[in-house]
Symmetry: C2
Subunit: 450 residues, 2 copies
Amino acid sequence: MSETRALAEFVLGCRSGDIPADVRHEAHRALLNIIGCSLGGARHPAVDRVLTAFAPVAGAPTASLLGRAERLDPLHAALVNGISSHVLDYDDTVPKNYGHHSSPVASALLAYASVNPVSGRDFVDAFVLGFDVSSRVANAVYPAHYDAGWHMTGTVGVLGAAAAVGRLLGLTAGQMVWALGLAATQSAGLREMFGSMAKSFHAGRAAQNGYGAALLAHSGFTAGEHGLDGPRGFAAVLASEYDLSRITVALGEQFELRDNTYKPFPCGIVIHPTIDGCIRLRHEHAIEASDVTAVRLRVAPLVIDLCNQRPITRGLQGKFSVYHGAAIGLVCGRAGLREFSDDAVNDPAIARVRDLTTATAAATVSEDQAHVEVALRDGRTVSTFVEASIGNVRHPLSDARLEAKFREQAGTVLPPPAIDVLARLCWDVDTVMDMREVVAVATPRALASS
Amino acid sequence: MSETRALAEFVLGCRSGDIPADVRHEAHRALLNIIGCSLGGARHPAVDRVLTAFAPVAGAPTASLLGRAERLDPLHAALVNGISSHVLDYDDTVPKNYGHHSSPVASALLAYASVNPVSGRDFVDAFVLGFDVSSRVANAVYPAHYDAGWHMTGTVGVLGAAAAVGRLLGLTAGQMVWALGLAATQSAGLREMFGSMAKSFHAGRAAQNGYGAALLAHSGFTAGEHGLDGPRGFAAVLASEYDLSRITVALGEQFELRDNTYKPFPCGIVIHPTIDGCIRLRHEHAIEASDVTAVRLRVAPLVIDLCNQRPITRGLQGKFSVYHGAAIGLVCGRAGLREFSDDAVNDPAIARVRDLTTATAAATVSEDQAHVEVALRDGRTVSTFVEASIGNVRHPLSDARLEAKFREQAGTVLPPPAIDVLARLCWDVDTVMDMREVVAVATPRALASS
């Protein structure tokens, strides 16, 4: 059986009871985190502008947007949820393939579930399976696909969104093969866009187009039968090297959510060790911004490849500048949403340290590690080695810290009582009767009337 | 200046008077042909099904669809126009890069012009320039991009649609750079989908997503500045070999429309020489279907790569089967819409000859040539060499034959008086005051009230 067909049948055939408890818990963590990220990003100018562009042509306003009072049709809601959840670069990551799989999958599902009755349990099942599809296909083409310049979140997220919505739509196996084909043939997203709003657009379009692929397949719109595995299919065309067996290995036993991680800092994940180290040095040595005369980093080669942006003038660029990461760690002692704003990027004290920072690639340094050395005005040099940065696979965020992150982001658009309710609903999502309840609490309008 | 920026400035800066008369005439031919193709394809099940899937979520029904009475928002209208214009594989082709550039560009423009006042002259200018963008970028990545398995019409058509709509929207140069970036980062479409409805979906999505990219840029939604030429941009990511200079060579002097061709047969263009030869042999030797005992083809290597489909059961597959092309040429003596229906593909007499057909690749045979040899029951063997097939660059369709093709297709949905009016409007499009007049004539509803 082809990998496309096998994956389609697995997504439809897996029963709720087949999903282990630890995987369900990880799904709850991912859901709490991604809803928090959408709330945190809901007021970003990228969201304002996509609404300006598309609200006039959108369909009947039946679907809610996380963190926004406007309503749109469900496909555009999926787009907006995807943008808001990814625009801060604060969403989750599977480090082994650098995909942010929750954003496209959950954004499509939350849009779908805002206009259709879906129980929390069915929602979680669909989320787990959509995440699995997205990350398994990513595994099959990583690293060649990513190294070539594809933004994994866009390219495989569309498959996960199609699978997740397709399961809730009750597609037949043949239709699910078409849905995956229609998703594969919309696979898109260039890393060239990093540092601009178009990066978050990838996640949004993946959510919207995957959802659309499921609707099309449901209506009998045909596609090739080998969208993933054919000689002109996704893997063959979008990766110079790939291993199709990774799509289907241990299906139903290995769940990709187990490899998911949650960011403590809203920026490219490979900058995290540098930030972590700089914050530590600042605290340990009581470094003042004006004391710094040089910062020397030794980091994994991917850091230079991915996060080499400078000179920079925009917050979104700071998220892909390891120099900015070092500077805010040393100058601010923290790296929250504020430190990646346009204002922070243009702050003279931060810019000064950023300009004093150099980075060299070292093949012996892994992507969750960094060497940081800081020269000070008094002649001292202080340094540290981050052996496993916080939030990464070997040092995961606790449930409590994840909830604190959620609360910080939710607080930008929701009042405290709603945040309490929403957090509880996310942890207890398996018992929610109708996911419209969750979406309603996560929209400002619903709160005005509560 | 980067190629992305140079192209953006050219699209905005080129004046109507800078477009030579022969290029304008080719634009009129292309417009007549693509509108005809949309009318011919308007009742295809692919169009019915995309409407079933998306009409419920589409926006206010302000925009008309060619050949259909339904109305949708303009972005969905662009999608449907793109599908109807490409689903019969009867639209135009630039053989040097195998792109079908009119479909995405004109489909987006006709949707835009059905909800905005656009003069015929401005419309033609935008079409010429959008076509130029699409085909120039195709030139830069052909053949590596195409050979890898990308469907050029989808991957570059989105750029042409963005440029064309962006010009009519009056984007600034900076916004046009973003529009091209937002289009580049949505570039998609796999050749694996050939033989299914998803092939025509590529053209439709390219029209819709290019249009959307222009709207987003107009609203200030940012993208990378090097969508086409950056180290992780379109060319670098989607082609193993490319030549960026081909994007900008002789801008404003060489117009790509001069290399456009129009299909006499509704199928993959590389099958055309085989069909042409089989029809000739049938007429010259009065061959009856039952006389044929073997058909031996020697064709260009791309024919085997692209049009090797069998066994087949669907009309859409027949369009990519050189065996089916040979069979209908010999059995039917023609290759019109009917010969690529599901019924024709499953006709026993046609299937018999198809099964008797073999094809070998010969590097000495060009893609507009074919050797055809037919063995007959009475022991005779007849053969022909098609040196330049009809409709190809060296043997273009005349204006009269192009209009006859248009009339055949338009006749499937429009009454004769409307066809006369529409044909005249297309030839005289430069004098049309408001393109809504053209779109109105091309929709069945408008005719019911005329």
